[in-house]
Amino acid sequence: MRVWWRRAFMGLVALYLLLPIVVIAGVSLNAKKVLFFPPQGVSLRWYEEFFTSSDWSAPAVRSLIVAVLAGLIAVSIALPLAYAVWRWGTRWARAVMLLGLAPFALPPVVTALGALVLWIVLRSFGQPYSVVLSHGVFLVTLPLATITLGFASLNREVVEAAVTMGATPGTVARTVVWPNLRPYVLAGYIFAFVLSLNEYIIAYMTVGFTFETLPVKIFNSLRYGYSPVMAAISLLFFLVATALFAVVGRVGDLPRLLGAEARSD
């Protein structure tokens, strides 16, 4: 009896999480150009339009570029920082670490406004690189958390054993640390990438009018003329993200990457 309740509860929550995507899928497959759900007739024309019309593919490409670069920046900040804290743990390192964990703890609208005024002051308002950098810093927290977990999961004794066998810090980093760290770095990058891809408010405030990314375009479209193409795109992005995470789950130990202890079951 108790098992039934638990399963029902978890199933309900899973259903809650799935509902929007089911709706989106339905809208994207609707043959008619109406944002109706359930769909009336099935068609893939919206997916076609996404790939053929530059109206939509251009913002999508812009989002991808920003996401790829912002993810790299986020990891480029997170990795040396986490390494410095793990290896030396100086007060300075820990202070910067706190700074790195903070961005996600700000109300998102404040982060966006801050980015806006900063770039104005730096006379770079509207430049494409402004959103890349702002995303890169805003999204540092997730890679930082996962990479720190990665370092924490390293068995210090293995490192010490390597050292006693004569390995220099560089060799230790290359042969012992990096192979174990790789999945965590990859997971962190994917987090930052996916979140940047779908981020709205910062992109809107910084480059909303000059370098329109996909979420911005979708939001604008919702107000004025809309098209089920955005549902098609969203479903595509959702599937890509699911595929990425599923691969990580298959190849790596997803529970462990997210903070569980290593177990043998």
């Binding site: 978890m10 230790v172 405030m205 979708i218």
Partner: protein
């Protein structure tokens, strides 16, 4: 002993490595906050963005009844959404962490993939689900539970439903590490001492995880506090939170100083509530038995 075997042979290593992170974080994280503070004291100008000055006009406006009411609504909605996330998210994560690994992965992938839905799409999708013409109410009418279809969006329910939706993955991911590391024998011990599963959860799991729960709750609260898209598109003007006003002032009304002042007020309120939550989580255990 540091991991490289040396006792404190640091040299220039750490500072060199920290240079880029420190620079990036200072300029692009601390910088914006400083500029917001500064701009909140500036004067609004028609021709340019703003004019450097030190005036308190913006704060005077930001603390007018209208905006204070907006602040109150914002904090109330955010608190409500955060609490719902806690009540749903903590048991969910707890049950999740006890599943065999393979089943866990399925749920985790779902949770992570939900993160990949843009707030815009979430708002769109929920507005559709709650609309009168093609929303869920039609299903209830068909089942005979409602006389006629209702429009539940825009409205408070819609805002809360959608806010909980976007914050739930974050809740689960924040609770997951401490919950999954909890010694399972603690709950088993409680069971052998006569506690039903629910009782064991309330008297052992939650108190033991108190700190983690407080931290997660504070994080989710702040996250929801600063949400823009969902209150704006799923809420009626009564539910338009402070972020909606901030964005409004910043972009549509080009009044950056006021927007900045409002942002500072929001930050202060958010910080105050978070500190209260954390203080509760960190307070010394008094005798509970």
């Amino acid at each position: 002993m540091t991991p490289d075997g040396a006792s404190s042979r640091r040299g220039v290593g750490p500072n060199l490595l920290l240079a880029w992170p420190a620079l990036a974080l200072f300029v692009l994280f601390v910088g914006p906050l400083v500029v917001i503070l500064a701009v909140s004291l500036f004067r609004r100008v028609q021709s340019a963005f703003f004019e450097p000055a030190v005036v308190l006009d913006n704060y005077a406006r930001a603390l007018e009844p209208f905006y204070l009411e907006r602040l109150w609504v914002t904090v109330a909605i955010a608190s409500g959404a955060a609490l719902v996330c806690l009540v749903i998210g903590l048991p969910f994560t707890y049950l999740l962490a006890r599943l065999p690994r393979r089943r866990q992965v399925k749920y985790l992938v779902l949770v992570l993939a939900s993160l990949s839905l843009s707030e815009v799409i979430v708002a769109f999708s929920w507005s559709l689900m709650l609309s009168r013409t093609s929303g869920a109410s039609n299903a209830l009418v068909w089942l005979g539970l409602l006389p006629s279809p209702q429009a539940w969006s825009p409205g408070l329910a819609a805002v809360l439903l959608a806010l909980v939706f976007i914050a739930l993955p974050l809740t689960v991911l924040t609770f997951y590490p401490p919950v999954s590391r909890l010694n399972p024998e603690l709950v088993e011990a409680a069971a052998t001492l006569g506690a039903s599963p629910l009782r064991a959860f309330m008297t052992v799991v939650v108190p033991v995880l108190r700190r983690a729960v407080a931290g997660g709750l504070a994080l989710v609260f702040i996250f929801v506090l600063g949400a823009y898209v969902i209150p704006q598109s799923l809420g009626r003007p009564a539910q338009w939170t402070l972020p909606v006003q901030i964005t409004d002032q910043a972009i549509l009304k080009s009044n950056l100083p006021l927007a900045a002042a409002l942002a500072v007020v929001l930050l202060a309120a958010g910080a105050a509530v978070s500190i209260a939550i954390l203080a509760f989580g960190l307070k010394r255990q008094r005798s509970e038995a």
